[in-house]
């Protein structure tokens, strides 16, 4: 198992390099002169030229890419912000935990509510509980997260005054509404997937075997069916987590939570390219790590996959 984890970790490296090259290239073609952005349009041609040289922007594409990659790999340095000359990686590390907090609690809510909802729907197939749960889930996947956030603010912060509408001044309470808003889409997706894979698994022969053994229905559902049904749900949960990391970026802006999303929007509005680029590269690496996590969970829950990576003495054949 250890070897498998290391192998998968190593496989992230080329992807991360590829992502960095891709993002760098996209940003390279951005129109506009950074020196002008920094110094303003009143600066003289001489000043601009000097600034560009200072930033290393007078060099060619390959040289600049090599510098960027070198700094990233050797010093975990994503460059300096055009706006305030602060280290981009430092700013990201300061803000990312807030984004991660939202995404983490959101996926937690989504799993804790979504899976039981999906099971309830599947177990009550053809009954009203199923229809209600699935219509609710269908609404869940169809609402923009940031709009849900706005509606929650309207109801719980502005009308009922129960929870803060913005900022992170109230500690964890500040995160309640953002997390609920961010969890909606994933919750619905997980509920839908749990239901459909439960329905498929419940019809499986081994479920009949379990019943034929005299196993009580509750154990049949939760031990025999659920463990199999959850395997495809892993994909959805992890994908949802990735989407929530993205969604959290937008939802932050609704609540003015100073996370990576607000950072990116500010950077985009002030054309602070090193900051944008750094944030995108960082998010992509995080996303790759999340995908690695998915593979590891798979290997953990599905013995058929696990055994591929174990040096087990596989003996096949009949006595």
């Amino acid at each position: 198992m250890g070897r498998y984890i290391i192998k998968r970790l190593l496989m992230i490296i080329p992807v991360a390099i590829g992502v960095t090259v891709l993002i760098f290239t996209i940003m390279y073609f951005t129109p506009g002169d950074p020196a002008t952005i920094i110094l303003g349009s009143n600066a003289s041609a001489e000043q601009l030229k000097q600034k560009n040289a200072e930033l290393g922007l007078d060099k060619g594409y390959v040289q600049r890419l090599a510098d960027y990659m070198g700094n990233l790999i050797l010093k975990q340095d994503l460059g300096k912000s055009y706006m305030n000359n602060r280290s981009v990686s430092g700013d990201i590390m300061e803000r990312f935990p807030r984004t991660l907090t939202i995404a983490f609690f959101s996926i937690l809510i989504a799993i804790v509510i979504g899976i039981p909802l999906g099971i309830a729907a599947a177990v009550n197939h053809y009954k009203w509980q199923d229809s209600v749960a699935m219509i609710v889930a269908l609404f869940g996947v169809s609402m923009p997260g940031f709009w849900v956030a706005l509606m929650l603010v309207l109801l719980f912060a502005l009308k009922l005054a129960l929870l803060p509408a913005m900022g992170i001044g109230d500690g964890l309470r500040s995160y309640i509404l953002p997390c609920i808003a961010c969890s909606f889409g994933g919750l619905a997706t997980i509920a839908r997937q749990t239901r459909s894979s439960m329905l498929e698994v419940i019809r499986a022969d081994y479920i009949v075997t379990a019943r034929a053994k005299g196993q009580v229905e509750r154990v049949v559902i939760y031990k025999h069916a659920l463990r199999n049904a959850l395997i495809p749900v892993v994909t959805d949960a992890v994908t949802s987590f990735g989407l929530m990391l993205g969604g959290a970026l937008v939802i932050e802006t609704v609540f003015s939570i100073p996370g990576l999303g607000v950072y990116m929007v500010t950077a985009i509005n002030s054309r602070d390219y090193p900051a944008i680029q750094g944030a995108v590269v960082f998010m992509s690496i995080v996303f790759s790590l999340v995908m690695l996590l998915m593979d590891l969970i798979y290997a953990f829950v599905d013995p058929r996959i696990k055994s591929q990576y174990q040096k087990s003495k596989r003996r096949i054949g009949d006595a």
Partner: protein
């Protein structure tokens, strides 16, 4: 490529009976039919909005700002006294078009890339798949943000940003279908009569990979509308005063405390559009899935 797929008469015949069968199964799914009807109505309203809308979408009325829903303005008016209902009707032209065009582009590009990868295999497959890996390593919304930041805001750029993000998913799916189909015997038959690669891909392989593509496209349009709204909301997609639904939400959010109708109605509209597409997509998936017989 599209035309290639439907041109031979024999194919068309076979397809039509298959389509009839699928349509029959789809018709029994009430939610899917409802979704289809709603989305058709929304599209028609968007197309004919200049004639249907009670007001011009950009007609300001400073004497009647922030009007709550009334008989004259069923959805109220916004901060410049513009009629929100009319703006939503016009806005469909942007929101729905962004979804449909970006997904069509992505589907065509993805199908082409995926076919090449799946059909030829080997090194070209490896190269394509690694590039797709890289694009997919960037979360969809983040990639859309990066591309929009580079290209700048706007309608066309928004479409490009979305299309780039979803192309890999289509390519992967097409490749997977094709890898399945490649094993089938009728391809050997086609190869044995010396059909060209292009002919084999376009006439034999693609049509069979089509049904998952259709389902994915329907769902994809729904997702694209959501992402486009998010982009507009953070100021990267379509810009106000264009009445795109996400942009309307962005414009209205500052007034949410006192005039919530500015954000409620555009949001509900997005939800209904996405909901209908999802219901249709679910129905299509079930109708096209041979495993679900009843």
């Amino acid at each position: 490529m599209r035309n290639e797929m439907t041109s031979p008469a024999g194919r068309k015949l076979k397809k039509s009976s298959q389509l009839k069968y699928i349509a029959g199964r789809l018709k029994r799914n009430k939610l899917a039919v409802a979704g289809l009807i709603i989305i058709i109505i929304m599209t028609l309203v968007a197309i004919f909005s200049p004639w249907l809308a009670p007001y011009q979408y950009d007609k300001t009325d400073l004497s009647n700002m922030f009007s709550p829903p009334t008989r004259e303005h069923p959805f109220g008016t916004d901060e410049l006294g513009r009629d929100i209902l009319s703006r939503i009707m016009y806005g469909g032209r942007y929101s729905l078009r962004i979804g449909i065009i970006s997904i069509s582009c992505a589907a065509v590009a993805g199908a082409a890339i995926g076919s090449v990868a799946g059909y030829f295999g080997g090194k070209s497959d490896l190269l394509i798949m690694r590039v797709l890996d890289i694009i997919q390593a960037i979360p969809g919304l983040v990639l859309a943000i990066a591309v929009s930041a580079t290209l700048g805001p706007g309608f066309t750029n928004c479409i490009i940003a979305l299309a780039i993000g979803v192309t890999p998913a289509f390519a992967r799916m097409t490749r997977a279908s094709i890898l399945n189909i490649r094993k089938m015997e009728y391809l050997e038959a086609a190869t044995s009569i010396n059909a060209s690669n292009f002919r084999i891909i376009s006439r034999h392989v693609l049509p069979n990979a089509l049904s998952p593509l259709i389902v994915q496209s329907t769902m994809g349009i729904a997702t694209a509308i959501l992402i486009a709204a998010s982009l507009s909301f953070i100021g990267l997609g379509v810009q106000p005063p264009t009445p795109e639904w996400g942009a309307m939400l962005a414009g209205g959010r500052n007034y949410i405390t006192n005039y919530p109708h500015l954000v409620i109605f555009p949001g509900v509209t997005i939800m209904i559009a996405v909901l209908s597409l999802n219901m249709l997509g679910d129905g299509l998936r079930d109708a096209l899935d041979p495993k679900l017989k009843d």
